[in-house]
């Protein structure tokens, strides 16, 4: 099965929680989707489980968004393939926290 190295950019608080400097680089085998990327992220950094998607429903937390290649992919189905540029590692998969004060 082909494997790919996927670049994931996380909000600062999650980088700090997981002890990640800069982007996370994750090896993903097979189809590269939101689900397979997040599975790989949570396996490598278990402390991030539940902080991006709900433990049980697997739904994206409400104040987070998924972007890539200047597109908002937040409402794509979790098993939809990610853009080829993300798969090939030329673009990162962005996990973004909503802007809010306080």
């Amino acid at each position: 099965m082909t494997s790919y190295v996927i670049r994931v950019e996380l909000p600062q608080h999650l980088r700090k929680l997981a002890g990640i400097e800069g982007e996370a680089k994750l090896e993903v085998e097979g189809l590269v989707t939101q689900r397979s990327v997040l599975d790989a992220l949570e396996a490598r950094y278990p402390m991030l489980s539940g902080t991006i998607r709900d433990h049980v429903t697997q739904q994206r937390r409400a104040f987070l968004r998924f972007f890539a290649c200047a597109e908002d992919l937040s409402h794509e189905l979790p098993d939809t393939p990610l853009p080829d540029a993300v798969v090939q590692g030329t673009e990162p998969f962005l996990i973004i926290g909503a802007i809010a004060g306080g």
Binding site: P11, H13, L14, L17, D39, A40, E42, A43, R44, Y45, P46, M47, S49, G50, T51, I52, H55, V56, R61, F63, L64, G97, A98, A100
Partner: protein, 392 residues
């Protein structure tokens, strides 16, 4: 020589304040987990270097942190990488999943919502962490929406004690303005099977079998905001305190009214006495005088600040009813902060130290049982909780 460690949870991080037994000079460590809401940080009575912390965020949800060196370093329990994606079982120290069946086998999935309709239970955050009195790896968590969870592996995995929500009155519980939170957990030091908890706005509950079954203990409470003012449940209990030498005697700060029970919560009597207002959040007991108790009167349920801009702790040396104002060292003009329910604690040194934190970011300490006060720090984020460890 003795040492005191004060664990402070704030809206934007946790702080650890340490001093020697004189309690004159303080080192301030933090912010730990900067930017996160730290609802509660508490140490194990068995192993004082074992600390548990509740870290939460509107963006990222709940995280549990643990320290095994008194707060110098922290870890998420069970946060080690898995050998491969999808490997199991994966510990999830922040996974609080409600048990969906009560002891009678019926699903228990709703409680009363603000508008009186039934609403599903939804996990929001951990308000309070209560480490076991005998095992550093066992810790209880009081959560919003109200339920009690327990971990027996140092915080790696959590399981609900469903008998609390399942005992029958759950559908009558309703959220207060701050949410429907289980904020108080008291473990009886003389009876390991007895646990007290309190919920806003449901009331106080007791288990006599280690958390398997529960009963409401609200007889004597009177609340104007519910149709039946003396109902079995529905009372907005703000906090309960107990002296470890007398675990059957409880003191309660309710939404309004300060109460005491001399029969393990089976009945309550009001001891507000001469307090200028009996609304408030905190209540605590002197470490060596079980009849000496402290509250911080707050003006009202809509005006969450001290009366007349004067921050005053009130002390009763008679277990309630007769109260004296303690003002020395506290601001007596233009002070409009609040003191939240988990933001007062005492140390166990010979001259009992009393500590409280404010929503204005001050942490005040008294080294003479409340006669006089000094700020340890003045400008933290809003203080959510204060716990104290007396270390030898």
């Amino acid at each position: 020589m003795s040492k005191v460690r004060v664990l402070v949870g704030t809206r934007k991080g946790a702080f650890v304040l340490t001093s020697d037994g004189k309690r004159e000079k303080w080192d301030v460590s933090g912010p730990h987990f900067a930017g996160w809401e730290m609802y509660h940080v508490k140490g194990s009575p068995v192993d004082p270097n074992r600390l548990y912390a509740s870290q939460s965020s509107g963006w990222f949800g709940q995280v549990i942190q643990r320290s095994d060196d008194g707060g110098k370093t922290w870890q998420t329990p069970g946060g080690e990488p898995l050998p491969s994606p999808g490997a199991s079982p994966s510990p999830a120290s922040n996974k609080f999943v409600y048990d969906t069946t009560g002891p009678d086998g019926k699903p228990l999935t709703t409680h009363q919502w603000y508008d009186g309709t039934q609403h599903p239970w939804e996990f929001k955050r951990v308000w309070h962490l209560e480490p076991s009195l005998t095992d550093p790896d066992t810790v209880y968590a009081g959560v919003e929406d109200a339920a009690l969870f327990r971990s027996t592996d140092g915080g790696k995995n959590w399981n609900e004690l469903p008998g609390l929500r399942g005992h029958g009155t759950g559908p009558k519980w309703q959220p207060g303005a701050g949410g429907m939170c289980l904020h108080t957990i008291i473990l009886d030091p003389k009876d390991p099977k007895r646990i007290y908890i309190a919920i806003s706005a449901a009331g106080a509950f007791r288990s006599d079998d280690g958390g398997a079954t529960w009963k409401p203990i609200n007889r004597g409470l009177r609340s104007q905001f519910i149709p039946d003012q003396t109902a079995e449940v529905g009372h907005c209990v703000h906090h309960i305190a107990m002296h470890p030498s007398r675990p059957g005697v409880l003191f309660m700060q309710k939404h309004w009214d300060v109460m005491r029970s001399d029969d393990a919560g089976d009945s309550w009597t009001e001891v507000s006495g001469n307090l200028p207002t009996d609304f408030g959040f905190v209540i605590d007991v002197h470490a060596h005088e079980p009849e000496t108790i402290y509250v911080v009167p707050i003006k009202s349920d809509s005006e969450h600040f001290p009366l007349d801009g004067k921050l005053q702790v009130y002390r009763s040396r008679s277990g309630g009813n007769e109260w004296e104002a303690l003002t020395k060292g506290l601001p007596q003009r233009d002070c409009y902060v609040n003191v939240l329910r988990d933001a007062m604690a005492v140390d166990t040194l010979d001259k009992c130290g009393v500590y409280f934190g404010t929503t204005g970011g001050q942490v005040y300490a008294s080294t003479d049982a409340g006669d006089s006060w000094d700020p340890i720090v003045r400008d933290l984020p809003a203080v959510l909780s204060v716990e104290v460890q007396t270390l030898s």
